[in-house]
Subunit: 295 residues, 4 copies
């Protein structure tokens, strides 16, 4: 049987910086701790939320180690190791495995649009260099490549590619995955506003930065699905939809940092060229957060 | 309270033609009768399935009368009356009301892209000329206009615009409608492959041509939702998804006609330039139908 | 050799209405006369500019006859005869031929997306019923079908399909047509803002409503191209670009009517749901027209 | 007056690798030398063709120095210094200036979609750290950001942002730039199949990898434009269009490497995950190159 170490709500921490734009590891650990104690079923450092592509190799390694140490085995850790070159992807995947990751997440980053054969070879080469499972991540908006279901089928034949994260925002993709691949595939939703529809479609889990701000609502949604109570899931979903849409539209790292500060926590600094949210957006987020809690 | 005469599965009959491409009213009545006796909660002649735009005014009136006579009050009838000009839309809406329709469906057909003001005036002028409710239909793929939620809010202020049919295929539109408009809006799903996700999002009904071929599966899906049984709804949905996708991809009038003939019924002829499905597509449909039934 | 009766600037008159939204034939004749005396190389009634799809059959025939009578052989007339059904397309094409049209223009209107085979059969059936040439018109924004170069090649094998009008707005389509089809194809540009690029690519002519307002600039551009003077063509093009963009963005029938009135002429009324341009747009058009003339 | 050191054909060398996927500097110098002796008006290392994002910092510096040394002042050198973070962009821009670059090219790379304010701040911060001009590069397909003309106007107010490279493939963008910004802006075409249309629209130059394979045809096109001979430019353009389309569709680094080898030269190796062109594509390229030369 396939090795699928994740299920439920997989929380994505931001990577906070200090005033001189260096990675702030102590603050990162504080944020990770909060995600674990608030009930997340998994922790995923170095995702888009964690601004993976803006970090150099040393920084990526420091964040990987910090996350795994802080989580300390309480929940599984999924480390993002995507890189434009195959050689660097292998390097980071091996590092993550050695540091104790339960799995690695890999998106086929591409500057030059990759052919299906190039993508298969990329995953296959990485897979042969590690013993832990891989979550293949489809997000054309950031990778520039939209992996077809035909390609995903090919990837799933690689023994340790056991999970797919879908972030196109098109629910019909998830229907198709489930319909074509049946129970052989564990698929995860990476599009926050699709959380309800994806669970209705049979998703195993939800990859999200929202638990940095509203963990109870996120986890309650999963619980309602587990209880087969669609009405309750629908109600809980509509309570958080505004927040889910807002953080996607304004950019996860900016929005989570702003939200943490509204909640009286330290969100650190961003790395240039990323700027803080402007005042009107912060005000809007503040109102959305109030409404989420009062509901 | 708003007048919303529809809920559940609203079935769309095709408009069959005879060998000389004239509308075949007796066959049309046979097809409508089957939809009613198979349990559809409403009947909608002159939709896209019914090739409304390919008919002349006399033909539209004959089809309207035939549908209402055949249904004979057993379920409500929703008549498509969309037209490029406001004058013709009024003409057909008044005819439908007089003939006994429960409501009319109007899509803002446009050759020249209409402004929001033009669309509001179009609906408002029609609405003032009739006493029955209007279902505003958003389907940019066929109308050329994508009505924003801002525009839909304006339309809903017209007293007898009480229902919205959404066919963009984007589930987030339905989330947004429900989230923004709350219980004030009755929204209906017009995108077959979104049937499960739309009900999960709170849709009042499903506008579909599928009951021409697989009425039990369509109605069972709605029943599972009514029982708040997501697991069952999911199972029933995946049994019919291939068929739902197939009829959309190949074009509803072509696919329904072919499916009826596979099932040993008369589907009539199509009007040129529409052609019959090619052999390989018919063969594929045959296999999909077999699989639907065996499940 | 192929029969290509058009070259240069083919002018599209609007179809004006009176206050009760009936077609105003006397005003239509006045507008056609002006286009001819201002030097247009062809006249094309019942295009998009002439709101073809908003007219009933009698109105289409009256406009066809009026145009051909008024032009009286001074330049060739190209009549739009597109219709959703093959039967009606044949009807109008035969009428146009009998009335004296030099050619007919046909876009594969589609409510249900047509297959390549359906489109070929549609053109072929019409072609066999008339003796004059056909201009096949590709404009996915209004027809819903984007004809591939492969399909256009098939259409050009029909003996009296001798011209292609391209309105996708993508100059690379014209490059491809010329590159693939060589001198066998006469292609015409239907995208106003592409006028310079299309002539540079080798277009035989320009189908445009702009001569209703700025005939000298339109015809001078063609003359500069004929003289192989790119610098002059470039200068003349940039003088009219703002106007070309404006009339496309606001909709040709609305913009031409407003422009005629700014110039002290009668533009008639529009047919609902089409509304007049709003005040700020009329003011903007007024400034653009002043700038065109002062340059 | 603005400092615009480039005009005409700006040639982009590939960055070749050796069998172990290390940058092959001697081969790179050979390829640069050929571009200069074949008549290119400028040389641009570390573009997309030069796989900039696949190189580490040391490699970028080695390539920059090698290009400038080899060119040795015969033509100006434009160095690509784009990076996701502002800090690294400054680093590479300063390095390029010190090494002797005439200008740097910067695309606003973005993983998280940048706001206009973030992009302006990014360019402004880099601009203040160097004394040479900047070419702002718009290519949403690779950067994920489509810079509006409003944003480009803001960038052009930064004193040393003096050039714009447009690669959206939409000729109307160039018309708009020229129309809005007049003679204040030097714009360059980065979309190979638009070469003729862009020069017709008034582009100052053409940024292209094609001179690695067909320098005479590329430079002749520019010469015909300089002579105001549109007919000749058109003829020369259609001779090379197949090649221009091919190298874009298959990816510049892959296509140039394959083309060099077809011509009996050494194209080096690619860096994984980029793979060589497959056999059928190489065969097709071979035929296209033969046709280019025989014309």
């Amino acid at each position: 049987m396939k090795n699928v170490p994740f299920s439920g709500v997989i929380a994505y921490p931001i990577t906070p910086f200090d005033a001189s734009e260096k990675v702030d590891i102590p603050l990162f650990k504080t944020l990770v701790e909060k995600l674990v104690t608030n009930g997340s079923h998994g922790i995923a450092p170095l995702g888009s939320t964690g601004v993976l592509p803006y970090l150099n190799d040393d920084e990526k390694e420091a964040v990987t180690e910090a996350a795994i140490q802080q989580v300390a085995g309480r929940v599984p850790v999924l480390v993002g190791v995507s890189n434009l070159t195959t050689e660097r992807t292998i390097h980071h995947a091996k590092f993550a495995e050695k540091a104790g990751a339960a799995a690695v997440m890999i998106i086929p980053m591409s500057y030059w649009k990759l052919s299906d054969d190039e993508i298969v070879k990329h995953y296959d080469t990485v897979a042969k260099n590690i013993g832990i499972p891989i979550m293949a991540y489809n997000n054309p908006a950031t990778s520039g490549v939209d992996m077809s279901t035909t390609l995903l089928k090919r990837l799933l034949k690689i023994p340790n590619v056991t999970m797919i994260k879908e972030s196109t925002g098109d629910i019909q993709r998830m229907h198709f995955l489930r319909n074509e691949l049946g129970d052989d595939v564990a698929f995860f939703n990476g599009s926050n506003p699709l959380a309800l529809a994806a669970f209705a479609a049979g998703a195993n889990g939800w990859c999200t930065a929202a638990p940095n701000l509203i963990p109870e609502l996120n986890i309650s949604l999963f619980n309602a699905i587990q209880k087969n109570d669609l009405k309750e899931a629908q109600n809980i979903f509509y309570k958080q939809l505004d927040l889910l849409r807002f953080i996607v539209e304004t950019g996860l790292p900016r929005a989570i940092k702003a939200g943490l500060e509204i909640q009286g926590q330290n969100g650190g600094f961003l790395r240039s060229p990323l700027n803080e949210l402007d005042k009107p957006s912060v005000e809007k987020l503040s109102q959305i957060l109030k409404k989420c809690i009062s509901n």
